[in-house]
Symmetry: C2
Subunit: 252 residues, 2 copies
DNA sequence: GGGCATCAAAGTGCATGCAATTGAGGCGTT
DNA sequence: AACGCCTCAATTGCATGCACTTTGATGCCC
């Protein structure tokens, strides 16, 4: 309805945007696992651009929290801690409640059919690859957000949804992703009906259940995660020792 | 309490970070008004770095919504629409409610004194420069967020607070910034008392009042804003004409 | 006098080159 | 065999250079 403004904010320079989108997708489909290395050269070569551009793209993704940039080191796909994962979900819940609050009873027919079509796609993908159904489920929420016509809200919801998606690949047991298709349908129905309070509650419980179902307990010693387990012990005083130990550990 | 992880995410490359912080501050202190041009060369020269770095910094700030990047054009300080400003405040309210919810009754003595010290500083600056008191008020909220030890929450609150700050320079009448010192103090008191519901309500009304008090109505024709006023009329059909008109307008 | 083509100056888009840092393997010592 | 040291390939940090685009100023024609 409102005039679609030309996407003017970040990522406009196209080539950078292409790389960002590709990596983002690869990450949420778990083709790139947390910790995966992302050397600038390789990226540049893959996408047919120079390191400068690849670097810029990595910068953007780092700003979104999807990759980690350490000075003079190869960039890697982010490995959020379990607590960060939980925090991300908490934020996401609030943001998405805002989304459905704004949308309740205000969806156009076209929007409703678009949503239904998307959920149908989710349904179809449910039996197939895990990665795809996770991605589709995430994109449902982003699609919803994009209907608010609030660029800021879209950006934050997208970002935090991607982050949550990333954490799922770290802390969820396989197939715990169980398509929330029925919940998505319920949300659409409540939105159409215009019941603000109900749809906010639905969204809350939907996301909360995804979080608690997927984010299984901190996953005791799992090889790489030893570092994280050690982290809390790395307090000021005996910091040196632990750092050294951690280094030894990391060297496998 | 939790071990402070080394800031590993974006903006790590230092030189870029320095520029980002400087520009961010200049923007929220209104030394750089919305629409101000930010040529890469000038920035590079000013900060003693090459265009490459300046460019990278602009990219980061664009990702935060503080500057606008248009292809082949000079970057400018962002000029959010009135609606975007309102949206930003709505998001901010939810995020900051989350902050105080997590913090209620859990502040350490040191944190309380830090908060009080900050509010004292706000108080002191209240009579002085408008820009400084706006900045301090914003930083109070960021300080609060940083006490959650949730890096993600800190990032989002900071970002959206900066954006709100930016919008204030666009849509608020001078001095409407009226230091919310007393409200800040009330929030601290409620946090210490640990009354979760109350402090969430306080934060809500505090931000909401700032928003409605500061964001005066869309400010009918104010020169530059003509473009925005025209925007809704730029629907599909007669698009060409309006674009042309808009261009003529922009040329002053 | 006003509109319009033309052109130089300014600025961005991007690749490349060089210096600096890292970390991994090899070698000697204990 | 374990530990430390050294060296070198891999990789990042950053500046510079060149091509292309935008801007706006000049002069021409009506």
């Amino acid at each position: 309805m409102a005039p679609r403004a030309t996407a003017k904010s970040a990522e406009s320079t196209d080539k950078v945007g292409v790389i960002c989108r590709a990596l983002r997708r690869a990450i949420i489909e778990q083709a790139l696992e947390p910790g995966a290395k992302l050397p600038e050269d390789s990226l540049g070569e893959r996408f047919g651009v120079s390191r400068t551009i690849a670097r810029h793209a990595l910068g953007q993704l780092a700003a979104e929290g999807l990759v980690e940039l350490r000075r003079n080191r190869i960039a890697v796909v982010a490995t959020p801690s379990w607590q960060e994962a939980r925090d991300a979900f908490d934020i996401r819940i609030e943001l998405e409640r805002l989304v459905v609050r704004q949308l309740a009873g205000k969806l156009t027919k076209a929007q409703v059919t678009a949503l239904n079509a998307h959920v149908d796609a989710e349904d179809a993908a449910c039996g197939g690859a895990d990665a795809v159904s996770i991605r589709l489920a995430t994109e449902f929420h982003i699609l919803l957000a994009s209907m608010t016509n609030s660029p800021i809200l879209v950006r934050y919801v997208s970002e935090v949804a991607y982050r949550c998606c990333l954490t799922l690949s770290l802390y969820s047991r396989p197939h715990s992703s169980e398509c929330g298709v029925t919940e998505h349908r319920a949300i659409i129905a409540a939105l159409v009906k215009g019941d603000e309070a109900k749809v906010m509650g639905l969204m809350h419980s939907h996301l909360d259940s995804v979080a608690t179902r997927a984010l299984v307990a901190p996953a005791p010693q799992r090889g790489r995660d030893l570092l994280d387990i050690l982290a809390p012990y790395a307090e000021e005083d005996s910091g040196e020792r632990v750092v050294k130990l951690a280094k030894a550990v990391r060297a496998r």
